[in-house]
Symmetry: C2
Subunit: 350 residues, 2 copies
């Protein structure tokens, strides 16, 4: 009864308001186009079920993600640069690591990272487990070694027991590789479903007029050529400055991107297209982390990648659309870590 | 019926086992003595109800406790040095702060800190709110200023709204003082009730023979003269090395302790007696953080404070007792922090 009444009122209103009827047509067409280009973010529960990830592995990964003793100094954790409280990143230009050294690139978000085709700005790690081993050993990040990690974890009985549970049947489960697999399992649960954009994809009228216009521009101006799929990016490699190189502060000459991985001339200044999910939470932008304003980042992409000087209204609309990509942030309980023992290596901060 | 049967069996067993009957007498007497010297840790719920702390204030404090933008670099939080995952401390000799500078003293645990008579190793802050303002401004810690904090928080609409809710009726609630009051409110919930020692105080037979012996020694050798009350310490100031000064690595000459606060000669090398709750989780020990082993710390206290060369069995028994002071660790959900805006000051890591 109520629904019929609502429908009647709605139809009467539409009849008297042709502009809104048009908008609904536009929204419907745009949704059909968008559904071909983008896919929604699933819930953590869906991923856990589909990939059959054990709770023990996820829980062990949560411990390790917050474990400062993986670092030489005992004060840096995965969460230091990929904080679950601030969009899965550290929100400074480039991360600061061991000895207060600044790293070479902006920290990519860990949120939804499982949906990227590869990890790091240059895609040098095939998956999250391969990625996790990098910062632990990098001298400008955690400055540790696989040996230090394994000795540390084996010195703590609660970790030995937990690795046995998480990797059942393995004779020697406390390994650097298994550390990485457990962290990967936890990171797979760090997803942000149910953004307003995903609600729109699912058929709800969740976007406002300016946001719809922004989505339309995002598709038709060509942004979607690099930023599509589940993560609205993160799938392929593209030269930064394909049309016009941005300034050296934004694209420093010394960082040749994927060239360092492939040593192929065409890969000079080639980077993985940034995944744009939750982009409103993770300024500053680009691999150099030198642009703090999302509108400015959109304008730079227009000139450098598309050869379009987007006007102010277009920039604002695309930015409004990008803000609808913010999903529900994962709720993470801080793990209570087991204490060190006499056999645990001491920190080496210096 | 079951209880009567259990009692009958228990009495029959006691009659046949005089040693156990003795132990129960000893335990009962020891409990009565201990109940006069120590008090249990209440639950967070009890504190919240008793002190009538609003949930809004606690929640805002949780955000701020994990808020890196309170620091100049945007990477240091309260939790960096007082991690809720590792006994409320950072478990390195002295904290590493802004620019990788090492601070002068070992980070005291935030857990149960509300029960200390005053804060810091020299008691220079009367309460947790006064304490919270220190590290934010210290150049070797967060290296920030009240102005930076207030400008930052006022630039983020979600914080402005949250301060209004947490401090209702105030015209200008976003202040440095209110930041500290909110952090204090959250920290008051970081308590660890229901340790085995507290179960023992409440009448349960929760301690084993060696632990009871350790408690007996702890009382009768005189440890209790400085380490009593709810926090088993944290109530008064005492010279470190009252009988015999430990080596300069443990008691560095340059740090004269409470003398810096009172400028009174008798306060040279005087420190607040460490609160011993959860002490098994927070190595290394003493204000200098140079002793990693709890047994070694107990032995040092024996010679330097009591003039007793405790034998190996005594050291082990006291250590076993101290391990019963580990309570239930607080469960803290990592807060999802609101993003910066164009008005938010940028990080200054260098």
């Amino acid at each position: 009864m109520y629904n019929r009444l609502a429908l009647a009122i709605s139809c009467a209103f539409l009849a008297a308001n042709p502009a809104m009827a048009d908008q609904q047509v536009v929204e419907k067409d745009l949704r059909a186009t968008a559904q071909n280009l983008f896919q929604p973010i699933p819930t953590a529960e869906q991923i856990i079920t589909e990939q059959n990830i054990s709770n023990d592995k996820i829980e062990l990964g949560r411990w390790l993600f917050f474990e400062p003793r993986l670092s030489a100094s005992h004060i840096i954790t995965c969460n230091t640069c990929h904080s679950v409280g601030t969009g899965g990143a550290d929100n400074i230009p480039t991360s600061i690591g061991h000895g207060w050294q600044a790293g070479p690139r902006n920290s990519p978000t860990v949120l939804n990272a499982v949906f990227n085709a590869a990890q790091f700005w240059d895609g040098r790690a095939a998956d999250l487990a391969a990625q996790a081993k990098g910062p632990v050993q990098a001298s400008v990040e955690m400055n540790s070694t696989p040996e230090h990690v394994v000795t540390t974890l084996k010195s703590i009985p609660e970790y030995v027991e937990f690795f046995q549970k998480a990797f059942p049947g393995e004779k020697d489960p406390v390994t650097f590789d298994n550390m990485a697999y457990a962290i990967e399992a936890f990171e797979k649960t760090l997803v942000t479903p149910n953004s307003r954009f995903d609600q729109f994809l699912a058929g709800q009228s969740a976007l406002e007029q300016q946001e719809l216009q922004g989505l339309d521009l995002f598709i038709n101006k060509g942004c979607v050529a690099c930023h599509a799929g589940q993560n609205v990016g993160g799938q392929g490699y593209f030269p930064f400055g394909v049309i016009e190189k941005p300034g050296a502060n934004i694209l420093p000459e010394g960082d040749k991107g994927r060239f360092a991985v492939t040593e192929t001339a065409v890969d000079e200044y080639v980077f993985r297209a940034g995944p744009l999910r939750n982009i409103a939470l993770t300024a500053p932008y680009f691999h150099s982390g030198q642009v703090w304003d999302l509108e400015q980042a959109v304008a730079i992409m227009g000139t450098s990648q598309l050869g379009h000087d987007l006007n102010d209204g277009e920039v604002k609309a695309i930015t409004a659309f990008l803000k609808t990509l913010t999903g529900e942030q994962p709720k993470v309980e801080y793990p209570i870590l087991p204490p060190s023992t006499r056999d645990t290596p001491l920190p080496k901060p210096m």
